[in-house]
């Protein structure tokens, strides 16, 4: 039972971090109809910025704040300089141009910070476990991540459902032409949305840096997962991104434990040992293909 509880929390923690990436990605995708493979690079850059600031100031809070601000500015510069030219282009051009940005970002980080992974440590107070229930320890830092993730999800919900900017964003995601027609300042709106998405990436990068490692290429695996999330959730939908992220997080985490365990009860151990991990690793892709096949618009489509 504790195993399920702990794995559920792990899945939630993973899912919420995925959500931070998926939220920005889905907005850019939904509003600007833009596939951005370089989204994961912003996550990487955010993590490197956090590592840099943490290394020079020693303050975790400062690192997170600085990385957020820095990456947001960078993201907006990127939007103004390059991405803006791609909105009207076909998806193939977008894929390749942002693939190019991804290569450029990777090599730039390698030149600036070297090839070796940087390992950060969480603030000392959070480095140990918390006893949630008698005998049930859970890492304090992961709890913090869950808290931050939930807070951002709530904030986003309020922002999108209660503010004028949010209304514009929603309108844009469900009907781009309408948003263009409202066109007070669509260009500025796009830039702002992009900067905001970049900041969310940086938050994920800064939060996960101490838990994982800060390294070149760290954004790619999580980028693919974020794509899976938004396709499952429905492109352009924040609600879909949250649901999709938690589904992917929980399915992936539970699948890794439960699939090999349950296979062992029905199959010989060698077969189960081979099959289990492979099934677990493709589980979310099967899920995504199934969603695309039966509900191509995703679980929570933004467009009517």
């Amino acid at each position: 039972m504790i195993l399920f509880l702990e794995q559920g929390l792990n899945g939630l923690q993973f899912g919420l971090m995925l959500f931070l990436l998926a939220a920005g990605l889905t907005l850019v995708f939904g509003i600007m109809d833009m596939i951005n493979l370089a989204h994961g690079s912003l996550y990487m850059i955010g993590a490197y910025l956090a590592a840099l600031i943490l290394g020079s100031t020693g303050s975790f809070l400062l690192a997170v704040a600085g990385s957020l601000a820095g990456t947001a500015v960078l993201g907006m510069l990127l939007e103004i300089s390059v991405l803006r030219r791609l909105y009207s282009r076909d998806h193939l051009s977008q894929v390749l141009a942002t693939f190019a940005l991804l290569l450029i970002a990777n090599e730039s980080m390698r030149i600036l910070f070297g090839s070796q992974a940087l390992t950060l440590n969480p603030p000392a107070v959070l480095s140990g476990p918390v006893e949630l229930a008698p005998g049930f320890f859970y890492p304090a830092y992961r709890l913090l991540i869950i808290g931050v993730g939930l807070a951002v999800a709530l904030l986003l919900y309020l922002l999108v459902s209660r503010t004028r900017i949010g209304m514009l964003v929603r309108a844009g995601a469900s009907n781009r032409e309408m948003a263009l027609a409202m066109g007070v300042n669509v260009r500025a709106l796009f830039t702002a949305v992009f900067g905001f998405g970049a900041a969310l990436c940086a938050l994920a990068g800064a939060m996960l840096g101490p838990l994982l490692a800060v390294e070149v290429g760290m954004g790619e695996g999580i980028l693919i997962l974020a794509f899976v999330v938004i396709v499952i959730g429905g492109i352009g939908s924040i609600r879909g991104a949250l649901a999709g992220a938690v589904i992917v997080g929980v399915v992936d985490t539970l699948g890794r434990t439960l699939l090999p365990m349950s296979l062992r009860t029905v199959l010989p151990p060698t077969v189960a040992g081979n099959l289990g991990p492979s099934l677990a690793s493709i589980l979310i892709y099967v899920l995504m293909a199934a969603v695309l096949f039966w509900r191509p618009q995703g679980l929570f489509p933004a467009r009517g």
Binding site: L92, S93, A97, A100, L101, V231, S281, I282
Partner: protein
Amino acid sequence: MGVQLDHPLHAAVALPLLAALIVFPFVVLAIDEPFYVVLASRILIFALVATSLNLLVGFGGMVSFGHAAFLGAGAYVVAILMQHGVASAWIAWPAAVAVAALAALAIGAVCLRTRGVYFIMITLAFAQMVYFVFVSLKAYGGDDGLSLASRSVVAPGIDLNSDTLFYYVVLAFASTGFFLFARLVNSRFGRVLQGIRENETRMEALGYAVHRYKLGAFVLAGATAGLGGALLVNQNELASPGTLSWTQSGMLLTMVILGGVGYLWGGVMGAAALLLMEELLAAYTIHWQLGLGLVLLAVVLFAPNGLATLARAAGPGGRDG
């Protein structure tokens, strides 16, 4: 901006190029640089694979982000058969093509129900599935990949382990494949594909069974990539998950756009340009991918039709083609 449906293969271009490729090993061996035979084989293999992807992306309008799956499937079939003692190219290579074609048939049947962005995403998802399946197959090397004991056996006296001989085998496949491709795009089938790229709904209303033609192209391209995989695994003597990774799919797309989407020579030019650029830049810096990224970005932003068009644009009376 108009588009031509005819893509003539000029003998005045193709034959001298073929002749140059035939004498190429003599030249580099004469100056004692056998490494370039290996490099040229690699370029030819990728030219074939990129051309097959160009058939999908450039001629059929299907932006597949999972073409590496078929490349890798072909490679793994040869390696797995070799592990089970089947070294004959006569069995292993057709098997690689057949498995890749069947995989393309199954994956295509599902993916082609979707369009646009969703097609890009679902092909990516399937490629990731194939990738993770092979990564977790410990019996076939898992993350390590699967080494070949030697190159495939063709016939007594023909030893593919000779890089030069292998080059000629690759050249034979690549040039034949390219010739067939050139026939294909100008045939009725090729016209239909291009029509689908231009206006799929209209093609359906004209009475074309659009899905069938798209699936046909998907299977052909997958099978060709499978052949490329069979050649590549012989070249590398290794089938590795890297061949299946999504960045490999990205690199194949990069070749196509560098060379020219929807141009006869696009795949060939793109493969040559990318691999030579890698060779050239890698000699100067380990950060060669920075250069690649900048070039790719520049091409997408400023020369969206790729290298193949530069030649035409330069020509007097240059036309769209």
